[in-house]
């Protein structure tokens, strides 16, 4: 992993996020039903979509590791899950803020998307403790990769089941986009924000992969310089 391409990607992320937010506030019209609070969906929904895709990509890299992809695949699986966990917290927070303004309550149990996200978040909260509880780096990587595959498959099933069990309260952003009932400025703004968050996510993933692999190489050099006295620290981070 090299720094090449990281600077343009970072600049592109900043520009796209700035353009997305500017469009959300200046170009997209105010929603007739929800008014100003609907603007949070330009952040909440893209973050949610990208977080879920990130969890599934983490599972794909986990499968790559199991199929002999090497420690680089484990590192990528770890980083995708880690970044998606951060986005999942943002989804829960922005969803709760929207809920407070729309329903007068921070949390509603009959809102399937929020509940699904909470369950997924709860499951992925066990990822780091699982890694930390296994000392042997090879065994740790294998168990974490199996977890990533199982949890990646669990994400869509969980959403489907929770959605089946509850009535709809949450506005169906994607359904509106698919059936053409979403006005063009809203759709264009939403897609711009989705692309912006996706590029930002890809940038953050690259930064973290680079940072983790550099840290690991540095520690390996320190160990070589310091002799056998410096043993690797117990860590949830892959020893790539």
């Amino acid at each position: 992993m090299t720094v090449r391409g990281l600077r343009p990607l970072s600049i592109l992320s900043v520009v796209l996020v700035a353009v997305g937010f500017a469009m959300a506030f200046l170009y997209a019209p105010l929603d007739t039903d929800q008014g100003f609070r609907q603007k949070i969906f330009y952040l909440h929904v893209p973050i949610g979509i990208v977080a879920l895709i990130g969890f599934v990509i983490g599972g794909i890299h986990g499968l790559r590791y199991l199929r002999g992809g090497g420690s680089e695949a484990d590192l990528r699986s770890y980083v995708h899950i880690h970044q998606s966990q951060i986005l999942a917290v943002s989804v829960l927070i922005t969803g709760a803020i929207w809920g407070k303004t729309a329903w007068g309550a921070w949390w509603r149990w009959d809102e399937p998307f929020l509940v699904s996200f909470l369950i997924v978040f709860l499951l992925y909260c066990t990822y780091q403790p699982l890694r930390l509880s296994i000392d042997d780096p090879r065994r740790q990587a294998r168990a974490a990769s199996v977890f990533a595959v199982v949890a990646g498959a669990f994400v869509p099933i969980n959403f489907a089941v929770v959605r089946m069990a509850d009535a709809y309260l949450h506005p169906r952003t994607l359904s509106n986009a698919a059936d053409g009932s979403m006005p063009t400025p809203v759709l264009v703004t939403f897609l711009t924000c989705l692309v912006a968050i996706s590029v930002l996510y890809a940038t953050l993933v690259r930064y973290e992969v680079l940072s983790k692999s550099t840290t690991f190489r540095l520690r390996a050099l320190e160990r070589r310089a310091g002799g056998d006295d410096l043993i690797p620290r117990r860590s949830a981070v892959p020893q790539a």
Partner: protein
């Protein structure tokens, strides 16, 4: 001449399953503990809910929560026999396929859960359930069997993930509970109308959801199973 002897998957599964069930029958260690925990949880729920009898949603929850807790005990100890005396390494030295061990564990846990329910369901009918148990028994058995298969499959995968973990007793429950939520939602939705006083017909889509979840978990298990029992 080096004709390597191999054992077919089904034979290996049967051998491990027979060994596990024989060990459990001889020691009679796990099943009483699971039964006592499930009954204890049921009694706790009776007082926590402050209900002498339950029906509908509460009845479904009062049966499923004790079952989940009891299954956690079984899942935590699923590979306990193999972890003693380097049993997994010895199994891997045998010509049996690695994935067969996970399949045997899933079937073994299913058998233990079924045995637990043979005691637990009548106790639930006597102690807590308001409506009559016998008229709804076929629907109850069907849903519980599908739930057992689902819990056993995800339990097998989680127990395999936690092999070698220092704090397995902490890791297993926090992994199982979120993964079990879709199965518990489906079982609760299926059982709640059946356990109402004027029992409604079973809504088939919920047993179907349970079956689909079990199949997906089994497929995932078949993909990752061989990696779980590596040295």
């Amino acid at each position: 001449m080096s004709a390597q002897t191999t054992i077919s998957g089904p034979r290996a599964v049967l051998a491990v399953l027979r060994k596990d069930l024989r060990l459990e029958l001889r020691s009679f260690e796990l099943l009483p503990a699971m039964g006592l925990l499930a009954l204890g949880t049921m009694i706790v729920l009776r007082f926590a809910l402050d209900q002498e009898t339950v029906e509908g949603d509460l009845a479904a929850g009062s049966l499923l929560v004790p079952l989940l807790f009891a299954s956690l005990l079984g899942i935590s100890r699923l590979f306990a026999g193999e972890e003693r005396d380097a049993g997994i390494q010895q199994y891997l030295l045998s010509p049996a396929p690695a994935g067969a061990l996970l399949a045997a564990k899933v079937l073994g846990l299913t058998a233990v859960l079924v045995a637990l329910e043979i005691v637990l369901v009548p106790a639930f009918g006597l102690l807590l359930l308001g409506p009559e148990l016998l008229p709804v028994l076929p629907e109850l058995v069907l849903v519980l069997l599908l739930l057992d298969l689902t819990l056993a499959t995800l339990g097998g995968i989680v127990a395999g993930i936690a092999i070698g973990a220092r704090s397995r007793e902490l890791i297993v429950p926090i992994l199982v509970v979120p993964l079990a939520i879709p199965a518990l939602i489906a079982a609760q939705q299926a059982l709640a109308p059946v356990l109402e006083p004027g029992a409604e017909a079973l809504a088939w889509r919920w047993p179907a959801v349970l079956a689909i979840y079990a199949v997906v978990l089994a497929l995932v298990g078949s993909v990752v199973g061989e990696y779980l029992v590596e040295d």
